[in-house]
Symmetry: C2
Subunit: 215 residues, 2 copies
DNA sequence: TAATCTTTTGAACGTGCGATCAGAAGCGAG
DNA sequence: CTCGCTTCTGATCGCACGTTCAAAAGATTA
């Protein structure tokens, strides 16, 4: 009977190790974030990680899950609460870039992991499924806007690729330019893609939001 | 006096090894593209690479230079030949995505290298300088369009990040979906960003450019 | 306290990498 | 052929990594 498999202290250790892994990966890069170094950050010996996670791969998996949890927790409720697709798209940029600002380390760690984890023999990495999901989410918002008539009739996949591309380009920018103004960038992105997506034959005053007017 | 330092056969060997490195990296991923494997592709022994390049790092450098040469050669003349900034932006997308279609392997290899090469102690990689240059080039086109009045008054850096982001998102897409229609994608991107950048108070017909009208 | 289970240690092991180098092989000139 | 230079080989080295494990330390219960 192992329904309550993990003890309290075990959960604490795991959480601590995940935090240290995030710090190590985001600070020193994926390649330099060895298990020995991560363990040292946690003031423990190398064997601890294998003991609690079974191996490096599973620890990375735990890191990814943790960051994904953080991101979903922060972003999802605010996006689904939007009244219009236009607003949802704007909120999408705002929350995404706010997440990068608030959870800088976890974000950078996630990016490092996704970039470096590649499949055995060939090409597809196991973690850009995460990426695939994000793309589908964006397409859902775009489909919504096209249905209500807010958005013009563009190729949703192409637009989604551009939107995710813009967002995913930001972390690399943050590394080069730590003073990057993410709030400003979010506003610019939102404006840019509002102009790109909107149907001119639809009533919307930009700086104000009226009750939705489905037509 | 070493102006003619490299012999004919040496140049041939170097070129062959660069080709094999490109194939190995783009096919098996950066991590699995070891010097032994690259040498095997060239039907040679591991020591050859060190002999001709001095080390792995310098061979990678040669690969980057080669791909950059290919890209510049294909893209630059067509972009600078544009009559208007609007056209230049459209050509920018077309040529970039055509390069990805024609030189798939070299492009994927370059992306792998840029993603995996990180600086020693800390963060900034040596090869996203390439990325920095691309960003500056885009900003130049944007500044041109703003000066002629074709483009509205947006933040050039933010717009450039979005444009490069959209383009740089494509290689990852190509891996997932080999049947991706790059020509169609280029058209969608061009339209999208034309809508995002244009000044509505400007004459639409392309083949005419007026003196700048700053207000 | 004694017994038992959980957690931690740190050295040791296997593996795969890039680098090295002594010697072999190719090759043109004298 | 012999010499000298270039090019290549493949075994070997050192190194860093992830993993393993017997033993120690700590925690828990009777």
């Amino acid at each position: 009977m192992r329904s309550e498999a993990r003890s309290f202290i075990e959960e604490a250790r795991r959480a601590q190790l995940v935090q240290c892994a995030i710090e190590a990966i985001s600070s020193y890069g994926y390649a330099n974030a060895t298990m020995a170094r991560i363990a040292k950050l946690a003031k423990a010996s190398p064997g601890v990680i294998s003991y609690h996670f079974g191996g490096k791969e599973q620890m990375i998996q735990a890191v990814v899950a943790e960051v994904a949890r953080l991101a979903t927790e922060m972003m999802e409720p605010r996006i689904v609460a939007s009244a219009t697709a236009t607003e949802a798209l704007r909120v999408y940029f705002t929350t995404n870039l706010e997440f990068m600002r608030v959870h800088r380390g976890p974000l950078l760690a996630l990016v490092e992991i996704i970039n470096h984890e590649r499949g055995e023999g060939g090409r597809p990495g196991p973690y850009d499924a995460q990426h695939e999901i994000a793309l589908a989410d964006v397409e859902k918002v775009l489909a919504w806007g096209q249905q209500t008539g807010e958005f013009r009739d563009f190729d949703r996949r192409a637009m989604a690729i551009a939107i995710r591309g813009a967002i995913d380009a930001v972390p690399a920018r943050m590394l080069r330019d730590p003073g990057l103004d993410l709030e400003h960038l979010a506003v610019e992105f939102a404006t840019l893609f509002e102009l790109a997506t909107r149907d001119p034959a639809f009533g919307h005053p930009p700086p104000d939001h009226h009750p939705p007017e489905t037509e």
